[in-house]
Amino acid sequence: MNGFLDYYNFKPVAEWIHSSLCGVMPEGLALFLEGLVVAVVIILLYAILAIALIYMERKVCAFFQCRLGPMRVGKWGLLQVFADVFKILIKEIIKLKNSDHFLYELAPYLVILASILTFSCLPWHNGMGIIDFNIGIFFVLAVSSIEVVGILLAGWSSNSKYTLIGAMRSGAMMISYELSLGMAMLAMVALSGTMSISGIVESQADGWNIFKGHIPAWIAFIVYLIAGNAEANRGPFDLAEAEQELTAGYHTEYSGMHFGFFYLAEYLNLFIVSGIAATVFLGGWMPLHIAGLDAFNQVMDYIPGVVWFFGKAFLIVFLLMWIKWTFPRLRIDQILTLEWKYLIPICLFNLLLMVVLKVYGLVF
């Protein structure tokens, strides 16, 4: 259809790598090597993104509060996060008295597992999604809820009242907001007609979902941002870590790198929420096309998909950070009221609206 979108397609490259590897070694070994490379890429990307996001959060927060943020370590404080990572690595991991030790050790594994599984579902580029099931969005919703189990285990097993209450609050909030997250996705699945992540991106070649689905898509987008912010345990929804009442919530008793995993997962969940929003509502790696302006569309096609994806994802990351540093924290009854009395009825109504518009052909 248009040259550059095909030119940038990664799928033929992956197939070429696979076939040429199979030429020089048995297929099992080739698959093993590819798997190893993918695993290393996932871990590296995960770590680099976490460092970038933590630096960005500190700078954005500082500028919102008329400060400079980290400035001492490296130019503009660029090495600050590396120093922090090293510092957290050399801290002692404390063994607690009377804690449920097995569950205490298991909880960071579950939190990181949920976060990496959803992370590998993101469509980085044309044909570059790592996991691309035909039930993609459903899979993302399913594995992202493993995180709640990790948080509940962390709070339960730590043998402290603060962690127990923090985990319970966090659990109640996260399972509640998963509903409106799922229902916002449901409306967008109805619009796209597919659950596969690459399918959803490709269905937006002639216009992003947010333009194609007009009113119901905008409602779903706003609901998704609110619920996603709550899922990532951030912003005005960080009542599990309400410092004044619960010290650090469910990870009060975790020290050193153990705590680092929760911190890592929190920032990556922010990116995953933004990445899924960019995929489902803003077209993933699809460039911006305006019907009728062929020259403009050609120029937009020239920009690689990976730039589009990261641009959109970081735009939403910035939006969520803006929300976090603007609004005061909500109380738990306000959070549950917002979800059950406002968002769920809105989502059900929005789903019906989207489906009626889709069936009668009123969306583009």
Partner: protein, 116 residues
């Protein structure tokens, strides 16, 4: 290929956590102190049982969550092919949604959605 990548992602997650923990344990200092393993309550000695009673409201919300989550699971296949099924399937699903909305209205009326 997808299932292989699924396994690869799981292995990557386990590898990341295990490797980081091994490094941290290898280069981190270690000291022994009687008070170190106590629960942290901002300097005060902890009193009573840690695994204490908490309010039943959490349980109520998790039941409600279960109902609506299963409902969303049932709706996903229908939403995927809603265009091909057309208006007839839409009216059938309306009954399903209607029962759920009635359930939510009932829970609301009974005060199950209040955090008391």
């Amino acid at each position: 290929m997808n299932f292989m990548m699924f396994m690869v992602a799981i292995v990557a997650a386990l590898l990341l956590v295990t490797a980081a923990l091994i490094i941290a344990k290898a280069i981190g200092p270690r000291s022994f102190n009687k008070q170190k393993g106590e629960p942290y309550e901002c300097g005060m000695l902890t009193r009573g049982d840690t695994w204490m009673q908490f309010r039943v409201g959490y349980y109520l919300f998790s039941i409600l969550y279960l109902i609506f989550d299963v409902e969303a699971m049932f709706l996903f296949p229908w939403a995927t092919i809603v265009e091909d099924l057309g208006a007839a399937a839409l009216t059938s699903v309306l009954f399903f949604l209607g029962v759920l909305i009635l359930g939510l209205a009932y829970a609301w009326r009974k005060g199950a959605l209040e955090w008391k």
